[in-house]
């Protein structure tokens, strides 16, 4: 397929996942702050902001503004509204590649969310937008899976979704497993809710909230859709399918990078990494970034020398 089209599908998917991730985190954080606990409200918002908008967070996060900014700020690249808008814009460029149901759904979601016309301090409105995105995300996944051929276009969509998910999970875990302060049970519930994981966790590990078990669940469990391991496995599948279709391309670098990432989660045990969790998570994010660059260089923006096919 055209490189430009693959790129747009990839970014449509990444932006959508980004918006969904932000919605999950915000919903969980908003519920958290309703309860008093070890962490203050400011600290909780700081944690949310730093996991959603890395680099943008300052230590004085005004809780009143945080929700509004992360949902509706049209200047900020990380706001939910902007991410949904970017997803839609990318979809529009490749409308012929996606099914009409996908486009209609995404278009309607965009109009519904922007139609709320959020103002600062309108918490209810912000949470409504967040819920719309959450619901819309599940539906979009379903519609995509059901109405598209699972072909090259589909694989680029999967790749974008899971790279974004893997990065977001790593950053989120990093924010929660802060070294100097230990979160209490409510915060752990908040973390699990941010990954829509609370019930799944309880089913797998009982309701006993132990930090190592939670880290294990969200990092290393291959079965749960919002774990880093699951995301990397899906990325590997997508990349293999794409490279099987383009037989003569030089895929060694990409294969090496995804292989290395997978080995980071496939062959470790949580007690080996829990002491240096921050370094470990940073390594995952960094390698995801490298992988993104390598994929881009191989399939999208490759130099023309050596790229000719008859």
């Amino acid at each position: 397929m055209l490189s430009r089209v693959a790129d747009s599908l990839y970014w449509m998917s990444r932006y959508f996942e980004r918006a969904d991730n932000a919605s999950r985190v915000l919903k969980a954080t908003y519920n958290l702050i309703l309860n008093p606990a070890k962490f203050s409200t400011e600290e909780r918002w700081f944690r949310a902001v730093s996991s959603l908008a890395p680099g943008a967070a300052s230590s004085n996060v005004d809780p009143q503004r945080a929700l509004f900014l992360l949902v509706a700020d049209t200047e900020g690249a990380f706001s939910v509204v902007n991410c949904i808008g970017a997803a839609r814009e990318n979809a529009r460029q490749v409308r012929e590649e996606i099914s009409s149901e996908m486009w209609e759904h995404l278009n309607r979601l965009f109009h519904d969310v922007t139609g709320i016309e959020l103002q600062p301090n309108d918490d209810a409105g912000a949470m409504r937008a967040v819920s719309l995105v959450r619901e819309g995300s599940y539906r979009f996944s379903g519609i995509t899976a059901a109405t598209m051929n699972h072909d090259e276009a589909w694989h680029f969509i999967q790749l974008g979704k899971y790279i974004e998910r893997a990065c977001n999970l790593s950053v989120l875990l990093d924010a929660y497993f802060v070294v100097d302060k230990h979160a209490d049970d409510l915060d752990w519930v908040g973390l699990l809710s941010s990954c829509a994981a609370f019930e799944a966790y309880c089913k797998a590990c009982t309701a006993e909230l132990k930090p190592e078990r939670i880290a294990n669940f969200l990092l290393l469990k291959p079965e749960f859709p919002y774990s880093v391991r699951y995301s990397l496995d899906r990325m590997h599948e997508a990349l293999t399918s794409i490279s099987n279709l383009s037989l003569s391309r030089r895929t060694e670098k990409v294969e090496r990078l995804i292989g290395r990432l997978q080995s980071m989660v496939a062959y470790v045990q949580v007690d080996e990494i829990i002491a240096e969790l921050h370094k470990y998570l940073a390594a995952i994010t960094e390698q995801c970034r490298e992988l993104h660059a390598a994929v881009h260089e191989l399939y999208i923006e490759y130099p023309i020398e050596g790229a000719f096919r008859t």
Partner: protein, 490 residues
């Protein structure tokens, strides 16, 4: 006593009784009680319809168009808004005999125009022999000096042509103008046929209408015909300006039906005078480009420098014979409205035949005598700017104000070469379902001609409707609509 009923409560019979004929040739009716033979089945159907039934059918048709997302951007209103393409429910019917003549006439005309283009960009014999003045040719807005001496694949300049025909008050089809550059509208023809088969399946079958669905296959094989020598499985692409272009729907639709890639300029790379497109598999060579972009925007190195729609080096690749364009560059010299006046002579010169289809009488404003004559009688003429399309830059004499005429007179005198005049023709009318009732509206006909190994014309084409009562402007960009065109089997 006549009881006035609300239009929506009238059945078909009562509605038709109120159909008003003026001096124009009406496609359906000789007189209100006498429909033409080819319309009898439709007439009977309409008479049998109860109140509201036609409205329901219209609604069903509109829904179908809406669901398919068939839209068109109309400029000239304050915002370029996307609107569902206005489609009229009632088909326009053409007999087999009428169509046979149209087909012969168009084949003859396009053959001659293609020879004209080759001559004008090579030996210029027609100019040497004084049949067409060189001055008129060279001053054409769309004449491209860069095309001189370039061999185009198979000597075919005009792969896709949309020639506009009208029916004069005597009932004969005459040529109004040719569209030889980037003619559009064929997707509306195809989608409206699909909708009509849904809405009037019985009538459609009984009338025995010739099919048009093969257009995409025929277009594809016509395009492949242009591929450079030695390319056994040529790669054909459709080059679009992108999703924000008013005709994007058609570009995507045709690309999809032909199963070819829809590319934008930024997907193309020219290396060593060969054109490639950037795919995830690597750089794939492109052999034929069905380009829906004007000449000027194709190559920023050669034409419009600011253009981001084309790709650098395309023209050189073309010149080297490594890629084919449909249509060829520079075809606009032959659909310049001033050249239109010479087409009968062009047909006689290359084919030694009289034109089968007449052209509308055309006066050149660059000729002082003709200019004077027209300027004194502007209210009788339609004056057009030679290089324009889409119905812009036009004055319709009988519908104009004194103010508009005097402004136009100034324009003509300032740039006489830029204008031609034609007597206002009362275009034929056809019944349309408008505002809940059936009324006559002016129509034209745009058949689509494909020039491959031979010339193929899909039976029918787009019948365009001037939706405003009394209006003679049918162009979709100015709010016109369309009808399905039914050419009967025999």
């Amino acid at each position: 006593m006549i009881i006035e009923t609300d239009a929506s409560n009238r059945g078909g019979a009562e509605t038709l009784r109120r159909y008003e004929l003026d001096g124009a040739y009406d496609e359906m009716f000789r007189t209100v009680d006498h429909p033409r033979k080819q319309y009898r089945l439709l007439h009977n159907l309409l008479l049998s319809l109860g109140p509201g039934e036609l409205r329901r059918s219209k609604h069903e048709a509109d829904q179908s168009f809406f669901n398919q997302g068939i839209t068109f951007t109309v400029y000239g209103n304050d915002k370029g808004t996307e609107r569902i393409f206005p489609h009229d429910l009632l088909p326009r019917i053409i007999t087999a005999a009428e169509w046979e003549r149209i087909e012969r006439g168009l084949t003859q005309r396009i053959t001659a125009l293609n020879l004209f283009l080759k001559d004008v960009y090579h030996e210029e014999k027609i100019i040497e022999d004084g049949v067409v003045p060189g001055k008129v040719v060279y001053t054409c807005k769309h004449y491209r000096r860069g095309m001189r001496g370039i061999k185009v694949p198979r000597d075919v300049y005009l792969t896709v042509v949309g020639t506009d025909l009208i029916r004069n008050p005597e009932g004969d089809f005459v040529v109004l103008e040719d569209n030889l550059r980037v003619p559009s509208g064929v997707s509306y023809m195809l989608t409206s046929r699909r909708v009509m088969k849904q809405i009037f399946p019985g009538l459609f079958q009984k009338c025995r209408v010739r099919p048009i669905e093969q257009y995409s296959q025929e277009l594809l094989s016509t395009l492949r015909f242009l591929a450079p020598e030695g390319r056994s499985e040529p790669t054909v692409v459709l080059l679009t300006p992108g999703a924000y272009n008013s005709a994007y729907f058609e570009h995507a639709y045709l690309a999809r039906r032909m199963g070819i890639e829809l590319v934008e300029g930024r997907d193309l790379v020219v290396h060593d005078n060969v054109v490639y497109m950037r795919t995830t598999f690597g750089l794939q060579r492109v052999d034929v480009i069905y380009r829906r972009i004007d000449d000027d925007y194709l190559d920023p190195l050669v034409f419009e420098r600011g253009s981001a729609l084309g790709a650098v080096g395309l023209f050189n690749a073309y010149r080297a014979g490594n890629v084919a364009f449909a249509n060829a560059l520079g075809t606009g010299v032959a659909d310049d409205k001033a050249i239109y006046a010479y087409v009968p002579k062009i047909i006689r010169y290359y084919l030694d035949q009289d034109p089968i289809l007449e052209s509308v009488e055309t006066l050149l404003m660059s000729d002082p005598a003709q200019r004077d004559h027209v300027c004194q009688r502007l209210e009788e003429y339609v004056v057009k700017a030679v290089g324009e399309s889409g119905g812009y830059g036009m004055l319709i004499g009988p519908h104009s104000t004194e103010q508009e005429r005097s402004e136009f007179r100034e324009k003509i005198n300032a740039q006489p070469r830029n204008y031609i005049a034609q007597p206002t023709i009362n275009l034929s009318t056809a019944p349309c379902f408008v505002d809940g009732t059936i009324e006559p509206r002016h129509v034209d006909l745009r058949p689509y001609v494909l020039y491959g190994e031979k010339i193929t014309i899909v039976p029918g084409g787009l019948t365009r409707v001037a939706l405003r009562k009394g209006s003679l402007v049918v162009n979709s960009s100015q709010g016109g609509g369309s009808k399905d065109t039914w050419v009967l089997q025999n």
